[in-house]
């Protein structure tokens, strides 16, 4: 260990300021720390594969004659309308990839702080519980929005570029709002979902299993209960099914399950509410000094 006082203590001559967004350093640091994990970089890059596939689809849809030999009658799949975007944003594989990215990149957001007792360091700063949670939620928001809103809006732009006209936009002027609205819904839900599970354990590996396990188990449970009771309402037990039901509603598409979308919204809101209660109990400044 180096000798103490390699350099004398000097006072800092600056002035501490009051931040407009005190949560911003937490958000920025959380994102940077996620990218320091080697495996995460590959997973994050891989999560863009669906958007690239849909981008290629957009290109081919405007050049059907050129790709006739490849398409061979499946051109109805390349009918570019709101359903195409709903299919992208609410697809099983995109939702699965979002869960994978969040499990790797955001699972330890609170778990690591609990494990290493760092909450006491945060709350000895001029930070409130809301600032702390806003910073952590912003990390989740960054990853979800970059996988949903950004590609969704870019797909619309590329559609206009490939088509060379604004006809598509004039036909569906509300589509960008639907993309943003559904992305916002996914962001809010996953922020609460991931932080809820992250606050339940001090071990980020267990959190990883919890995030995946709860997501997949809910869908398996839906399958089993649906077989037993043969009612579509069993889809309310499934996280992905509720997200897809809400997505279909936001994009004005036929609902995948035969019950009102408001039930799915209520379930998702219930999970967020449960998360808020748990986070409020787990993240307590009075426990910062042991």
């Amino acid at each position: 260990m180096a000798t103490v006082r390699e350099k004398g203590y000097t006072h800092w001559d600056g002035k501490l300021g009051e931040r407009r967004f005190p949560w911003w350093p937490i958000a920025r640091t959380g994102i940077l720390l996620a990218f320091r994990k080697k495996r995460f970089k590959f997973i994050f890059a891989g999560a863009f594969i669906p958007s690239i596939v849909f981008l290629v689809g957009l290109y081919i849809s405007e050049r059907l004659e050129d790709f006739k030999a490849i398409i061979q009658g499946s051109d109805r799949l390349l009918n570019i309308d709101p359903k195409y975007f709903a299919t992208y944003l609410a697809s099983d594989w995109l939702l699965f990839l979002i869960v994978l990215v969040l499990a790797y990149g955001a699972g330890g957001l609170i778990a690591d702080d609990l494990k290493h007792n760092s909450l006491q360091l945060y709350f000895s700063r001029p930070l409130g519980k809301k600032d702390y949670l806003a910073g952590k939620m912003s990390v989740v928001a960054f990853f979800v929005l970059i996988l949903t809103a950004l590609p969704g809006l870019l797909l619309i732009v590329f559609k206009l570029v490939f088509a060379g006209s604004f006809k598509f936009f004039l036909q569906y002027p509300w589509l960008p709002l639907s993309v943003l609205g559904y992305s916002a819904l996914l962001t809010v839900f996953f922020a609460f979902y991931v932080l809820l599970l992250s606050a339940l354990s001090k071990n980020s590996r267990y959190v990883f299993i919890l995030i995946f396990g709860a997501y997949i188990f809910s869908n398996v449970l839906f399958g089993i209960l649906h077989e037993i009771f043969e009612t579509p309402y069993m889809a309310l037990f499934s996280v992905p099914a509720n997200l897809q039901q809400a997505g279909a509603f936001v994009f004005g598409q036929k609902l995948p399950h035969a019950f009102p979308a408001v039930w799915s919204f209520a379930v998702l809101a219930g999970i967020c509410g449960l998360s808020a209660v748990v986070l409020n109990r787990k993240i307590r400044s009075v426990e910062v000094i042991k």
Partner: protein, 303 residues
């Protein structure tokens, strides 16, 4: 006065943690002493603004502990007792991060992080991942993050725990340097009496949520009681009972040394009278300079 509390009370449910504590702390290093459950942590929690007192009021650097908690936390550097860090970070990023959270501009926080890490002796290892740090290095790191925003007061909770003798001496030297020459006030909570004795001019002793003693160490030694060290041949128990009946406290050490704490007004001749009454022979008698340990034992009533 940098810290001032008046009639401060707090309870966890039915358990009284602080009961009408009133004190005024000035400049320099102040030691906060007390047995487990004395209310030290609760006092720190209240001063940092984590807990709202049930009764009473207080000010830290003239900021109200009930209404201006953010300003207090901006002006205070806190070094917790337990190990704490952010996984995946190196020391310089970690220190700068908490500087930034205190309100420093990002670039300034980074520059300052380098400075304080050199100051605490982690300059060479500032780019190492914190997960690989030893216990002693983590202790220094906690001091660095507490200093990064150049606080006016440092709250140090057991700053020398987990340190080997050399590391302990070095950290104590750092704290002494900060409090004596850098106009940073230090509030040091520790169960290691030697640390407090080595660093602090003023001491606050809490016991069962109440203020047991407060003041300059030298004054407390002189005012509260006189300490006499004796060696006795004869019935020590009878001698003890005789003296205790007159209000003195008698402790017998393992090596046979008997310590008698007499209230200031008491007459030292009472010791000889008690020996005469109980037939004990006094083989050794000396008026001792009270150590902090003696003071603590005398005030709190524990060894």
């Amino acid at each position: 006065m940098s810290i001032e509390v008046k009639d401060l009370s707090f309870r966890y449910g039915k358990i009284v943690a602080l009961d009408g504590v009133t004190m005024r702390l000035g400049e320099g290093a102040v030691g906060l002493l007390g047995p487990n459950g004395a209310g030290k942590s609760t006092l720190l929690r209240i001063l940092l603004g984590f807990l709202v007192p049930e009764r009473g009021e207080g000010r830290v650097l003239d900021y109200d502990i009930r209404r201006e908690q953010a300003m207090i936390r901006r002006s205070v550097g806190y070094m917790p007792e337990s190990d704490c860090f952010v996984a995946g970070m190196d020391a310089v990023t970690f220190t700068a991060y908490f500087g930034e959270l205190s309100g420093m501009p990002r670039q300034e926080a980074m520059k300052r992080a380098h400075e304080v890490l050199f100051y605490v002796g982690l300059g060479e290892s500032r780019y190492r991942l914190l997960d690989t740090y030893s216990a002693g290095m983590k202790q220094r790191l906690k001091l660095a993050q507490a200093l990064v925003h150049d606080p006016k007061i440092l709250f140090l909770d057991e700053p020398t725990s987990n340190l080997d003798p050399t590391g302990r001496a070095e950290v104590l030297e750092l704290i002494r340097d900060i409090s004596a020459h850098k106009s940073v006030q230090v509030l040091l909570s520790s169960h290691i009496l030697d640390d407090i004795e080595a660093l602090c001019e003023t001491v606050v002793i809490l016991n069962k949520g109440k203020l047991a003693a407060e003041g300059r160490m030298a004054d407390l030694r002189a005012i509260n009681y006189s300490l006499y060290e004796l060696r006795i041949k004869g019935d020590v128990d009878a001698f003890r009972k005789d003296l205790e009946s007159s209000g003195s406290r008698v402790d017998e050490m393992e090596d046979g040394l008997v310590k008698v704490y007499m209230v200031e007004a008491a007459d030292p001749m009472d010791i000889f009278r008690a020996a005469g009454r109980t037939g004990a022979q006094l083989r050794y008698f000396v008026k001792s300079r009270t150590s902090l340990e003696d003071l603590f034992a005398g005030v709190v009533g524990v060894d």
